[in-house]
Amino acid sequence: MSRSSRASNAAQALAVLAVVTSTLFFALPLLGLLWRAPWARLGAELRTPEVRMALTLSLQCSFAAAALSCALGLPLAAWLARGAGPLRSLVRVLVTLPMVLPPVVGGVALLLAYGRNGLVGRVLESAFGVSLPFTTAGVVLAATYVALPFFVLTVEGGLRSFDRRFADAAATLGASPWRVFRTVTLPMIAPSLYAGLVVAWARALGEFGATITFAGNLAGATRTLPLAVYVALETRPDAAIALSLVLVALSAVLLYALRRRWFPLR
């Protein structure tokens, strides 16, 4: 067999494998949702105030969490990318923890820290009268907790592959470190930044465990789309499927809109 035909066989096998995997794991579950969807009643299911509230809340909270992840994650990623050492390793483990922890455990941990009797929460409540559990702010906190690691690791990767010589060039042109970061580093790692924002947003949108544990489940205040799906699943499966379709459509539209940013064509 010639070298080129072996190569093309390998390419074909790879393509088949890719199609089979994406079908089994991604396309079929989606088809299952579509297959069971109560198409005739879909409009009515989606027009209920509960769905509208959950949708609005989910959008607000997921975007807020993505923005917060960016604001808090950027300095963290910049610091992590600046070198190695035991302190950085420790911090990186801490940052990565929410990715591997079951979100419910994360929710409990958040309660122990920011709950009414939590380490910080009791101070917040007694000193400022601020209570995070059972509030929309609590939802954002829970979503940021699970989304932030994705943002930090993505952006750190981008910063690590950033060629320092561009920053050096900017410095020799008279730019302060902050100006270099703002006008050269950030624009040049923009693809990682967008990717980080998109994964953080997606993770925040789908967040369930930490939210229901930390922020509770109250329509209009803390019941996001995933919580609404969970609640409906037990009583009104049709509504649950309808809500799931909303989640899927929302994610699909945003991911499609951002595809160029996420996978920039070079």
Binding site: L111, A215, G216, N217, L218, A219, L233, E234, P237
Partner: protein
């Protein structure tokens, strides 16, 4: 080296196929039944050697959902009759359900009742953070019924997905008071205190149990109880491919027996 390998291989083969096929009874039980059913299973296995009782606990609605999607289970013990009715309507029950226990509601508060909750009426206090189970959960439905009977307008800050989630929030101090089952507070006695609900407002929760037959994925369990489509799938022709030794029926009978009832009573469940 070679010997080691062959003996390892032999051990793996033995582990995989050597054991005699176990007779198992898979029980789906409401989360509030966790403690008594673990005791019941142990006692049943003692009197009926060779049977392995497998327990799966979850919120009742979740169990109904799993059964609807064809989960393999031999017995269903529900926290209320409404959810059991939906399983009956789907044709998965092999015999009519029977109530095997009752339960009552209580108010769970932090240990020692620091906020001085006296009864249902206090749940309307503005200085208390109150949470209930969601209305889709039996405990949540009962709690709302009790509040309504007592004429108390309490505001739930969160519709908790299960009694255990609600109790843990009371324990953590995030919630000052929550309505749960008497039995739950009894189990969690070490970390929460109970405030009694006067009997004129209290609700009696009835727990039915039924043996199941093998289900098929997508059995149309009706979304709303009582709204079953007439002429749902006939189930007579579906074979009962389990309990050949009558283990399933024996387990249900054991729960209803004097010995089973004594175990339930020891966990403060009421008589049927």
């Amino acid at each position: 080296m070679h010997d080691l390998f062959t003996s390892l291989a032999a051990a793996l083969v033995l582990a995989g196929c050597g054991a005699p096929p176990a007779r198992t009874v898979t029980v789906f039980a409401a989360a509030s039944l966790t403690a008594p059913f673990e005791a019941l299973a142990a006692a049943f296995e003692a009197v009926r050697p060779g049977v392995d009782v497998r327990l799966s606990f979850a919120g009742t609605p979740q169990l109904v959902l799993q059964l609807r999607e064809g989960a393999a289970a031999d017995v269903f013990a529900s926290a209320d009759e409404i959810h059991m009715a939906r399983v009956v309507e789907s044709g998965r029950t092999a015999a009519p359900p029977r109530v095997f226990a009752t339960n009552r509601l209580a108010i769970a508060v932090a240990l020692g009742n620091p906020r001085g909750v006296q009864g249902l009426a206090d749940l309307a206090r503005a200085d208390l953070v109150v949470a209930l189970c969601g209305p889709e959960v039996p405990a949540g439905r009962y709690a709302r019924a009790a509040l309504e009977r007592a004429g108390v307008a309490a505001r739930s800050v969160s519709d908790e997905p299960s009694v255990s989630a609600l109790i843990s929030k009371v324990r953590l101090g995030e919630v000052d008071a929550g309505i749960v089952y008497v039995t739950d507070v009894a189990t969690a006695r070490a970390s929460v205190s109970a405030v009694e609900i006067q009997s004129d407002a209290n609700v009696v929760a009835r727990y039915p149990i039924a043996p199941l037959r093998a289900g098929q994925g997508g059995s149309p369990i009706p979304a709303e109880p009582g709204a079953a489509e007439p002429g749902g799938r006939g189930s007579d022709e579906q074979g009962v491919d389990h309990g050949a030794d009558g283990d399933t029926e024996a387990f249900v009978a054991f729960v209803l027996s004097a010995e089973g009832q004594a175990i339930l009573r020891s966990f403060e469940f009421g008589a049927p």
